[in-house]
């Protein structure tokens, strides 16, 4: 029996914990992860004989602004590499919520977009074209109400497709201005050489150009911990070269 880790990401107050509690029932406990004081919940659920380990990340508007919560959520997705990242969005506030969804999709295509609070959206007369959003994002998109427990079966089915690899779509790739794309192209070989294939090189190149020193220091920590001495040397070299 396989064990798939699913991270729950999303803006504050989008119902992540409500969904998390619904799926994991009483089996959740509070956890803590590497070097951070941010506390999160972890639990388990089963669907079609597959066991999932659910990790409830702190709610954030972004993965880039360097608050402790955002760093924790970002580092979890990058370094712990959950099999699926479940991005929970508020159906009544999609424009704002899609910011985080795009940031996650730039890191990993192993994602399911879960549009929660669909009951509220209906009340407000908001109708959402799930197919169109799924087509644009390139990952499964499901509408649910965690409170009313609607759409949960479909959500779990889509989660399974991504977890098992049955779904292998191509996530949206954002093309930037010529100047930025040129910068990416220049940095990419260095980044790939430095971090290997384990981490999302294009995204790291973008973050380096943005001067994201918090990511850089997380990278140094994690690579120092998990690679051979030979690799460490390369890492040090590459990082210097990127400045």
């Amino acid at each position: 029996m396989s064990h798939y880790t699913v991270a729950f990401a999303g803006n504050p107050n989008t119902g992540k914990s409500t969904l998390f509690n619904l799926l994991t029932g009483l089996r959740q406990h509070t956890g803590n992860w590497a070097g951070k004081t941010v506390t999160t919940a972890e639990g388990e659920f089963t669907h079609n004989q597959h066991v999932y380990r659910a990790v409830d990340l702190p709610g954030t508007y972004s993965l880039y602004s360097n608050s402790a919560d955002e760093e924790a959520a970002r580092d979890y997705i990058i370094f712990e590499q959950p099999v699926v990242t479940l991005v929970v969005l508020d159906a009544t506030s999609l424009e704002r919520n899609l910011n985080l969804a795009l940031q996650v999709l730039e890191i990993t295509g192993r994602a399911v977009v879960c549009i929660n609070l669909i009951d509220e959206a209906k009340k407000l007369g908001i109708s959402i074209n799930l197919k169109a959003i799924a087509r644009q994002l390139g990952v499964p998109v499901v509408a649910i109400s965690a409170r009313n427990q609607t759409g949960i079966g479909e959500l779990l089915d889509q989660l399974e497709r991504v977890a098992t690899g049955a779904f292998a779509g191509k996530p949206l790739k954002i093309t930037y201005s010529d100047e930025i794309e040129q910068g990416i192209a220049e940095l990419l070989p260095l980044v790939e050489q430095t971090v290997g294939s384990r981490y999302p090189a294009r995204w790291i190149a973008l973050r380096l150009m943005d001067g994201d020193s918090s990511l850089l220091s997380s990278l140094k920590t994690h690579m120092g911990r998990s690679t051979s001495p030979a690799h460490k040397e390369v890492a040090g070299h590459g990082v210097t070269a990127c400045h």
Partner: protein, 84 residues
């Protein structure tokens, strides 16, 4: 920048503005963008705290309070809705 642009900190309660620019760099710029203060987006000035700072703004369906240090660096064009 267009002549009509004023800093959000100067807009009175109830006014609606379309953001025309953000005069900040680095992490704070990123933070403001992530909160929804994106060029072209509409902002409503909701209310001021008793001492006048911070000010609550409504942007992309969420209420966000900004201090003057931040709101004075975000520029917008008035769209109306201003109190008489």
């Amino acid at each position: 920048m267009a002549g009509a642009a004023i800093p959000l900190s100067e807009a009175s309660n109830g006014s609606l503005l379309r953001i025309s620019g953000i005069d900040v760099q680095g992490v704070l710029r990123r933070r403001l963008l992530d909160l929804g203060f994106v060029t072209g987006n509409t902002v409503e000035v909701l209310r001021r705290s008793p001492l006048g700072d911070p000010v609550a703004f409504r942007v992309s369906n969420t209420t966000i309070a900004l201090r003057r240090e931040e709101s004075s660096l975000i520029y917008g064009e008035l769209l109306g809705g201003e109190e008489a």
